[in-house]
């Protein structure tokens, strides 16, 4: 039991952030119209590309050749996720906004 409590105290800030973010995530998108489901999924897809920061950190401290190679690949993959995700989302949404201007 004390191990569990110790674990909680040690990571309480992260646990707070996790719990609040869960509710925030649910709240933020709960009123989305179905038209926007695909762009929203795609946009969220780009946001989890934030994992690239982890890749940069690992790559930034890579000491040997193997970890250099893996880190290099990780950064490329993360960038693909971020850039590809945002650009694809923008392309989808561009079509909606084009419509609006013509009216």
């Amino acid at each position: 039991m004390s191990e569990v409590l110790k674990f909680f105290m040690e990571y309480r800030e992260a646990i707070f952030i996790i719990i609040l973010s869960i509710f925030l995530g649910i709240e933020v998108i709960s009123h989305v119209p179905s038209v926007l489901h695909t762009p929203l999924m795609s946009g969220a897809n780009a946001i989890h590309g934030v994992v690239i920061i982890g890749a940069i950190i690992v790559m930034g401290h890579a000491g040997n050749v193997l970890s250099m190679i893996l880190g290099f690949i990780a950064v490329i993959l993360g960038t693909l996720n971020v850039v590809g995700g945002f650009v694809v989302t923008d392309r989808m949404l561009e079509m909606f906004s084009k419509k609006k201007k013509q009216k």
Binding site: S34, S42, H48, G60, A74, V75, G85
Partner: protein, 490 residues
């Protein structure tokens, strides 16, 4: 555990770190506002840009200001910056090109592919951090690895691996490179894999830190990848968007594990936000199909003994192009119900042309959009928007159904499962209970279809045999072209 304590505590005093943390707070705010704006049609595009700005900020500041506390107590910034920038440039160029070139119809595959990249990235990070963590714990004289870091690394590896392998399979399926494997056996295999993975997490954590554990981690990775494959393999047909959305939220969770590991707030909030909103989105999609998430994952849907009762004995009635054009031109209200077939044939522009043509003859033309038409919810709206169809011409399913009785002609283009009456009147049908567009209530129905082949969910459709239904066979694009010129010549 002392190392972790210092890991998160002492760094507060560095100025560089404070700047970095401020940038992460800004990035998190931009992510939240971006998601919020993405859920409203008017602000969606700027929302996406805000989130992208947050991401750029977080990446730039990480490269410039990130410091890691080393074992000897000193702080070290990011090395290998040249290589990092090179990787960023390569990734950006390839990602940009791929995203710009992909056809709107192939969008779901593309999202799945990018999602898989994120998952692989998360898994790679864990793979590289595991040996480091082991060394740290070994020098600290620990006899086991029961720490939060170990949980984060192992869960990140597992979820990232599943997400990567699963997304690749989903990509292959949507791109029609991979078929479905539907055997009840896979259900049990999946359960065994899941149990094994969780057991391995526990087992690895109880092991003493040492070099020989690396084999175990590779085995664990392999198992996670295998599970990703067998997880998605039996799921098919109309359930694909649900799976992509689910894998999307998985990657979010995997990313947040990295945030937990590094005490990195941007990764933590970004990852969890996507994890939770992705889960809600997945549930919303399931609701649109009137199914439970569990049902989708276990995979009762699709193929097999779906052809209940209605064997090939029945006959369909065809309609000629000229009859169709006359019927359409002298109608008052026409409803177009598009499906994925329209998108595959790239006929959305012709659809818009037909709409304008009929509109000039005083026919009121609208579109009835099923929430899961296409291969992702909202996919059809994106495709029609691409073809300049006005937003207000698009009717949601309920409105379309309410007006169905006053509709003279419904044109079903490349849609099948979303207009299948079996969903309402055949309890044994796999799509039973799924809300559908009740096109059979209209005065006439023209179904444009390539052949009598079954729809994406591989279920027989009785609509084709109904008395008010006429079939117009052929490639959607070619048929539309002929129909448009036929109406012009009237």
């Amino acid at each position: 555990m002392g190392t972790m304590e210092t890991f998160t505590r002492t760094i507060e005093f560095s100025e560089y770190i404070s700047v970095l943390e401020i940038s992460y707070i800004l990035a998190s705010i931009l992510f939240i506002l971006g998601l919020k704006k993405l859920s409203h049609p008017d602000t969606a595009r700027s929302g996406n840009l805000w989130a992208a700005a947050g991401m750029g900020l977080a990446i730039l500041f990480t490269i410039l200001f990130h410091k890691t506390r080393m074992e000897n107590g000193s702080y070290e910034g990011i090395h290998n910056i040249g290589w990092i920038v090179a990787a960023l440039v390569i990734g950006s160029a390839v990602g940009w090109m791929a995203a710009k070139k992909v056809k709107m119809t192939a969008m779901p595959q593309m999202v799945s592919l990018f999602n898989g990249m994120g998952g692989a990235c998360a898994a790679l990070i864990s793979l590289m951090e595991f040996p480091k963590m082991q060394n740290m714990l070994a020098t600290a004289g620990a006899t086991n690895m029961l720490t939060g870091e170990a949980i984060a690394i192992l869960l990140g590896l597992m979820i990232g691996g599943v997400s990567f392998a699963g997304s690749m399979i989903a990509f292959g399926k949507l791109d029609e490179r991979i078929g479905d494997i539907k055997t009840p056996l896979l259900r049990y295999i999946n359960l065994v894999f899941l149990f094994l993975l969780l057991a391995m997490i526990f087992y690895i954590m109880t092991m003493a830190p040492g070099k020989d554990n690396n084999l175990m981690i590779y085995l664990f990775t392999l198992l996670a990848l295998l599970y990703g494959i067998t997880f998605v393999m039996p799921i098919g047909g109309a359930d694909m968007p649900v799976v992509i959305s689910l894998l999307n939220s998985f990657t979010g969770v995997a990313a947040s594990m990295g945030g937990f590991l590094y005490g990195n707030q941007a990764m933590l909030t970004g990852g969890i936000l996507v994890g939770s909103s992705g889960t809600i989105l997945t549930i919303l999609m399931c609701k649109a199909m009137n199914r439970s998430l569990l049902n989708v994952i276990i995979g009762v849907f699709g193929g097999g003994g779906a052809a209940s009762g209605s064997s090939g004995e029945q006959t369909v009635k065809e309609i000629s192009l000229s009859d169709a054009s006359v019927l359409l031109s002298y109608s008052q209200r026409v409803l177009i119900v598009p499906g994925y077939g329209l998108a595959v044939a790239q006929a959305q522009h012709l659809c818009h042309e037909l709409e304008n043509l009929l509109g000039s003859k005083g026919v009121e033309v609208k579109y009835g959009i099923h929430p899961v038409a296409g291969r992702m919810p909202g996919h059809m709206n994106v495709l029609l928007a691409e073809a300049d169809v006005a937003y207000e011409k698009l009717m949601e399913m309920e409105d379309a159904n309410n007006e169905m009785g006053n509709t003279d002609v419904v044109i079903v283009i490349g849609a099948n499962d979303v207009v299948n009456p079996a969903a309402e009147n055949d309890p044994s049908s796999p799509i039973s209970g799924m809300p559908v567009i009740q096109v059979w209530n209209a005065k006439n129905t023209i179904v444009m279809k390539r052949s009598m082949a079954k729809g994406y969910a591989a279920i027989e459709n009785n609509l084709f045999f109904m008395p008010k239904t006429r079939m117009l066979f052929g490639d959607a694009k070619a048929t539309m072209q002929k129909l448009v010129s036929e109406i012009k010549n009237l």
